[in-house]
């Protein structure tokens, strides 16, 4: 299991160190910061593994070659958030996937408590972080790490304990260990309300000739629930399998919605969803956590609506000049508006000057990014726009050809490129007197570009 957990700043200084197992050198780990300032010989410093991580990974000259590093029979798992390194250390054959999931969770928990993960915030909250680490990792075994539950008894004030009644205490412990660890009892709202966001990112890799090399949508259904009591929810969407199953009963329904149903390649659910029920009946039922959470993730590859098509034309005019023409076409209902459109056209490293002409929006050559960035605020469906540029090159004797990175695009559209539709979200709360009709529900669809690239 996880032997120790360390948080470093970008300089490699230890901000947080918590050791769970004896096999990880605790004293040495903690002392490593002194070593670096005092004049100990290098070998002495390298002797302890945690210091070795700094030397071999954080200060490594090369790009990181693997998120798992084995130094002197000690394995380091690291993730980086802005310029903060989180490293889990072990000497055993641990479940590697679990360690990374835990590190991500740790980041989520910290973010939920104090916002952005930065050196400043970590130093400001170090007592809290130690308290959290003590709770969510016991002897290296991850324990309940749902922020909803943690916030009931680990607070930044830290004085709650004395004022708790016995009932409150047992409520906390039963929630932390219980079947529904993500929700506490006795939540009350005057207005029962829920928000559903269908957030999709559409990914594309297209050949210069306009052939789709790969395309997929990875989507998330994010729910914000403000519901009283312990509501039982059921979520329905235009999943092909469900529609076809129901279609057998009512032929009418099939003809209406059958065409609009989508084939979902795979989906995963928040731990509140009853997986065995999904497996047997393909119905999505759950008791939601309070507030915001990610209900499900899914992936589709069939019949994707690609909101934009990019047509590149790159011509090399001699050794010192390039001519680039890029056309983008929007491919959705004319009544809808795409926003925040950005086309990024890479330029060679030896570019000396660029002249751009575009019909719409603004285009600029950014030398520091080696790209022409073309921005359009809004664009309706079924429209077309064009940019042309002349790139002057410095003559070089570099043998290596320019790699021609792909043209990438960013945008946001108000529909789901996968075609996913929310059919219903029913809420039942048998103990309290509000019904499904009393709940105010909001649904929103946002399609964003993921990695949306066209080779040129």
């Amino acid at each position: 299991m996880i032997g120790g957990l360390f948080i470093y700043n970008h300089k490699g200084e230890v901000l947080i160190s918590r050791v769970y197992r004896d096999d990880i050198g605790r004293r040495q780990a903690a002392d490593s910061a002194i070593f670096s300032s005092s004049g100990l010989p290098l070998e002495e410093r390298l002797r302890n593994a945690v210091d070795a991580f700094r030397v071999n990974v954080i200060h490594a000259r090369q790009q990181v070659r693997s998120p798992v590093t084995n130094i002197a029979r000690t394995s380091f798992f690291h993730v980086k958030r802005s310029n903060i390194w989180l490293a889990a250390v072990t000497k055993q054959n641990v479940n590697a996937a679990m360690v990374f999931e835990f590190l991500y969770k740790m980041c989520d928990v910290m973010a939920a408590y104090f916002g952005k993960i930065s050196e400043e915030n970590i130093k400001n909250n170090f007592v809290l972080i130690y308290e959290l680490l003590d709770e969510i990792l016991d002897f290296g075994y991850p324990q309940n790490s749902e922020t909803g539950a943690l916030k009931t008894f680990i607070t930044q004030q830290g004085i709650k304990s004395q004022h708790q009644t016995k009932e409150e205490q047992s409520q906390i412990t039963s929630q932390v260990t219980g079947q529904i660890g993500w929700r506490r009892e006795g939540i009350k709202y005057r207005r029962n309300e829920l928000f559903l966001d269908v957030l999709e990112s559409v990914n594309l890799l297209m050949s210069p000739q306009g052939q789709v090399l790969s395309a997929h949508v990875s989507g998330r259904v994010v729910m914000k629930s403000y519901l009283s009591g312990m509501p039982e929810c059921k979520f329905g969407m235009n999943d092909k399998i469900v529609i076809e199953k129901q279609g057998k009963g009512t032929a009418d329904e099939t003809s209406k919605s059958g065409k609009q149903s989508i084939a979902i390649d795979d989906c995963t659910f928040h731990q509140c969803v009853r997986l065995s029920k999904f497996d047997s009946e393909r119905s999505i039922s759950f008791i939601p956590p309070d507030g915001e959470f990610e209900l499900m993730r899914y992936r589709t590859t069939k019949d994707i609506i690609l909101p934009f098509r990019v047509i590149p034309l790159v011509r090399e005019v001699g050794r010192t000049k390039l001519e680039v023409k890029v056309v983008i076409k929007s491919n959705f209902k004319p009544s809808l508006l795409a926003q925040k459109i950005e086309v990024r056209i890479p330029t060679p490293l030896n570019t000396s000057g660029v002249q751009v002409i575009c019909m719409k929006g603004k285009a600029k050559y950014k030398a520091s990014e080696n790209a022409i960035v073309w921005k359009i605020k809004r664009m309706a469906g079924m429209k077309e726009s064009q940019i042309s540029a002349e790139i002057e090159l410095l003559p070089t004797n570099d043998k290596k050809k320019w790699a021609r990175p792909p043209i990438s695009m960013n945008f946001e559209v108000p529909f789901a490129p996968s075609g996913l539709k929310v059919r219903y979200l029913k809420v039942f709360e048998p103990k309290l007197n509000y019904s499904d009709h009393d709940v105010i529900k909001w649904v929103r669809y946002i399609g964003r570009s993921g990695i949306y690239e066209t080779r040129c």
């Binding site: 798992v68 308290e131 002897f139 075994y141 790969s214 050809k401």
Partner: protein, 946 residues
């Protein structure tokens, strides 16, 4: 208020100030001071001097302050064990606190204080907490048992905590169950032999129920534990799989991967014809693909695992090539892994797409990635014949780019393409030769030299090219030197007239001026070959080369199977067994996939080791290789019934040569001393031929016995056990058992080839043993054994071999040879195969003999838990040639008087006392050779209990 200020105090005399603040009366000030202490501790300052002052702050009702003090204690208690005792009282008191959070905190922290003296005080509070009414306390206490076990394993066992922990598996709270499972799994790992995690269908059912209810982490613990279980048959395996599959939709990738591990493992037991098998295969693909949309670090873990899964079961992902296409901003570690999987999935159906992608990748920036992409193009050519031409032309395009590392990489793979498709693409040689000067890496240079040597007759200036390399011979790496030597010899054999000088030059460089033994030996061999028999030299050096395999970088099947058992863990990320990177005793338990047998018999037998048990199950009976080697090397491995033994005296190390059977081993084993030009090597061709001839004559001795074994009712036959694991025998796995049918003994063998190459030329030989067991016929395996193939064979035995008393008595040492090597193993044969059919003694004779044998020769044994009655016992024993001479009923007890005779004429007399209703029998044995008694008793046990 921010806490970061605590990090900034660096004044002198700070410790004294802190001391004063810690002893302050004001609560707030105290807390501030403790915070400062913790901050100093974090940045690495030594604040252990404050130990007593901090411990004094422990007695507080402020939970936050208490936690801080505990944190300090965990860090420094070990360095100040005596003072740590001061804290014990507070802990013990806190364990009784009405607030469950405080009780749990106390027991959790106490377990982290790794001071021996404290552990004694920990036991009582821990015992209470394990039975606490609050689940939060129980789940914390469960982990604490594992902590305590890590400090003092004996204490945990003595105090009976393990049993309490086992009880927690049936706890009503899922999180308690999960933590108990995690703790037990870890403890069990350090005691591989103990039956701590006694998994049976009932406990498995409990775990599966808890699986649906516990946290994501708990699900991982439970799934990882389930993966260690071996279902008793395919039905059970299927029902567990059905209950595990819903986990594949969990948002947590680790849950998904652990579920995949359970499914991959149990699938081994399902029959491929089953509908369910197909369904399961289909269900596995989507979640694996979904893992690729996780964060990059997890993608990396997933890809390393997919790499294993694709090798084990390529059918799962064969249609999913596109998802492994590299994205421009993937981190480099993800890119490299994706590329690996793309090559594994490449097939005729998708090769066009793959090639187009690879060509793109070859123009990227990262050098390692580009190299791998170029190499991948070559591997595609070798794997998919239809694409070879396109691949070669792509490679030629890449060579034209003149980018140094691209060119070198391309040349290395083109060499392999030449090997795979001889005489097809040689037209490109000219282009390759143009780039000779730019090659600076040994592998590329060696590849180019190989090409020049191999096609010397078509390259006009081959001698010039090779000569140019020769100038800097001593600066080259060994790889290049060896290649250059061989290439020039090839050139000489092809164009002897012009290149005599060159070859002499290289031979003298290699033999006289080099201190590398490999190079020198190879030089000498060539020299002698050329000087004694140029025709033979031509046959040897220019021999037809074996085909190279289509797949490269495959993991050895045995290792692959083991790694499949470790899906999701570090071992699967490193592609190494845990023993390679874990220190000490932990994790060295060798795991293996369950066998694909649905028979209920196999699981009952103690001999078939369940998965997870150590593979070397009987280490005490296997003598060291050294002992065996001495005895066995003196035996010839020819069939003993026919043909004279081979003359081993003519060659100094005859046995080795014979076994190695070829020039390769000759070259490898040539002793340093035998140098000189006069040395005449034994003709490589004659040795295997001799062996083959004598094998052939042996084949004519036919035994009809081999057929029909097992259909006749006869003496008890134990299920086959693995005698020689593939790990120890370069991929050959041998399992077997002994049978006795109508007077003949035979050894039923099952040979499995788990290596990547074909195995041929099998032979078997026994060492001398207590009863003179020897093969009555040679090992008849007619067809070569191709990879993953299994052959069953029954080897008839006789008892006329030479006799030597073994320890233990029924130990049999066996040598098996194939074209790869000779392997040794030893096994214990059950004594009842030696009980002869005419072992029934006359009643009078029995009485007389019983009296005649002195009483000190009598041995008594207890046979427990045998539910049979006297009749059944008698008839069952009779089928194994233990005959009931007489039967009496004394005081309600059945007394059976029995006799048996061994092949060497030793009589054994027995008295078996059976009390109706009591499953324990008493067995008294009398024999003139008392050392057999123990083994006869074991034979009784085996026969009666199976």
């Amino acid at each position: 208020m921010t806490d970061s200020k605590y990090f900034t105090t660096t004044k002198k005399g700070e410790i004294f100030e802190l001391k004063a603040e810690l002893n302050s009366d004001k609560k707030e000030k105290k807390k501030e001071a403790v915070k400062k202490v913790i901050a100093s501790m974090t940045v690495g300052k030594d604040v252990s001097a404050l130990f007593p002052d901090v411990v004094n702050c422990m007695q507080t009702d402020n939970l936050e302050l208490k936690k801080l003090v505990y944190l300090y204690l965990m860090n420094y208690a070990k360095s100040q064990p005596d003072m740590a005792i001061m804290a014990v009282n507070t802990f013990v008191k806190d364990c009784e606190d009405p607030n469950p959070l405080i009780r749990a905190l106390a027991v959790r922290t106490m377990g982290c204080i790794r001071v021996d003296k404290i552990t004694e005080y920990l036991c009582e509070p821990l015992r209470k907490c394990l039975k606490d009414e609050d689940p939060y306390v129980r789940k914390t206490a469960a982990v604490c048992v594992a902590k305590l076990h890590d400090i003092n394993a004996q204490l945990v066992e003595d105090q009976g905590f393990l049993d309490t922990l086992k009880d927690l598996i049936s706890d009503s709270n899922p999180m308690v169950v999960a933590n108990a499972v995690a703790a037990l799994s870890e403890i069990a790992e350090s005691h591989p032999s103990s039956n701590l995690l006694d998994l049976n269908p009932q406990s498995i059912n409990k775990l599966l129920t808890a699986l649906n209810e516990c946290t994501e982490w708990g699900q991982i613990f439970i799934l990882d534990c389930l993966a260690n279980y071996t279902p008793k048959d395919d039905r059970e395996a299927q029902s567990i799989c059905e209950r595990v599959t819903p986990r594949l939709s969990h948002a947590n990738s680790a849950v998904v991967l652990s579920a995949v591990k359970v499914l991959m493992k149990f699938m081994e037991m399902l029959s491929k014809d089953l509908d369910y098998y197909g369904t399961l295969l289909k269900k596995l693909a989507p979640p694996l693909v979904t893992l690729l949309s996780a964060e990059p670090e997890l993608q990396y873990v997933a890809l390393r695992n997919i790499n294993l899964i694709v090798q084990k079961r390529p059918e799962i992902l064969k249609h999913e090539m596109k998802v492994f296409f590299v994205k421009y901003n993937d981190p480099i570690y993800v890119k490299l892994e994706k590329l690996d999987i793309m090559i594994r999935l490449a097939s005729q159906a998708n090769i066009a797409q793959v090639l187009a992608e690879l060509k793109e990748y070859a123009t990227e920036v990262d050098v390692d990635f580009v190299r791998k992409a170029v190499r991948a193009i070559g591997r595609c050519a070798i794997k998919v014949e239809q694409s070879a031409e396109r691949c070669v032309s792509t490679l030629l395009d890449l060579i034209q780019t003149k980018v140094n590392y691209v060119v070198q990489e391309a040349i290395v793979v083109i060499k392999d393409i030449f090997r795979k498709y001889p005489n097809k693409y040689e037209s490109v040689i000219a282009t390759l030769c143009e780039n000779l000067d730019s090659l600076d890496e040994p592998e590329a240079r060696a590849a180019m030299i190989w090409i020049v040597g191999e096609y010397a007759e078509r390259i006009d200036n081959a001698d010039e090219l090779l000569e140019s390399f020769l100038e800097g011979f001593h600066d080259e790496s060994t790889q290049v030197q060896l290649q250059l030597l061989t290439a020039i010899v090839k050139l000489f054999l092809k164009k002897p007239t012009e290149t005599q000088e060159l070859v002499q030059q290289v031979l003298s460089l290699a033999t006289q001026d080099s201190d590398n033994p490999d190079l020198r030996d190879r030089g000498y061999i060539y020299w002698r070959l050329l000087s004694t028999d140029p025709v033979a030299a031509k046959e040897v050096v220019l021999a037809e080369k074996p085909l190279i395999s289509e797949e490269t970088d495959l993991i050895e099947p045995t290792l692959l199977d083991e790694l499949i058992c470790y899906i999701g863990t570090l071992a699967s990320v490193y592609h190494k067994p845990p023993s390679a990177f874990v220190e000490g005793g932990r994790g060295v338990v060798h795991k293996s996939l369950p066998p694909r047998t649905a028979s209920s018999e196999s699981t009952e037998s103690p001999e078939t080791a369940p998965a997870g048990a150590p593979s070397g199950d009987q280490p005490d009976v296997i003598p060291t290789q050294g002992d065996l080697l001495g005895d066995l090397l003196n035996l010839d491995l020819g069939p003993p019934v026919s043909g004279p033994p081979l003359a081993t005296s003519s060659v100094q190390m005859g046995a080795v040569d014979l076994l190695g059977g070829g020039l390769d081993s000759l070259m490898g084993d040539e002793p340093e001393g035998i140098g000189g030009p006069n040395f005449v090597a034994p003709s490589a061709a004659t040795v295997p031929a001799n062996l083959g001839a004598s094998m052939g004559s042996g084949l004519s001795d036919l035994f009809d016995l081999t057929s029909g074994v097992g259909t006749l009712s006869g003496s008890y036959v134990a299920p086959k056990a693995v005698w020689l694991p593939a790990m120890k025998a370069k991929g050959l796995e041998i399992s077997g058992t002994f049978t006795r049918q109508v007077g003949s003994i035979s050894m039923d063998l099952q040979l499995t080839n788990k290596a990547l190459q074909v195995m041929t030329d099998f032979a078997i030989q026994f060492n001398r043993n207590s009863f003179g067991l020897a093969p009555a016929a040679p090992l008849q395996i007619h067809a070569p054994l191709s990879p993953n193939q299994t052959v069953e064979i029954s080897l008839p035995l006789n008892t006329v071999g030479s006799v030597m008393k073994m320890e233990p008595l029924n130990n049999l040492q066996v040598a098996v040879k194939n074209n790869i090597d000779v392997f040794y193993f030893s096994t214990l044969y059950p004594l009842h195969i030696l009980f002869v059919e005419d072992g029934k003694m006359d009643r009078q004779m029995f009485l007389a003999t019983w009296k005649d044998i002195p009483n000190e020769n009598e041995a008594q044994f207890q046979i427990r838990d045998c539910p049979l009655n006297a009749e059944a016992v008698s008839s069952r024993l009779q089928s194994s040639n233990i005959f009931t001479v007489a039967k009496r009923n004394v005081e309600g007890q059945d007394m059976l008087y029995q006799s048996l005779k061994l092949t060497n004429g030793i009589w054994v007399l027995a008295e078996l006392r059976i009390q109706p209703g009591n499953p324990s029998f008493t067995l008294s044995l009398k024999c003139r050779a008392p050392e057999v008694s123990q083994h006869v008793y074991q034979a009784y046990e085996t026969i009666l209990k199976n």
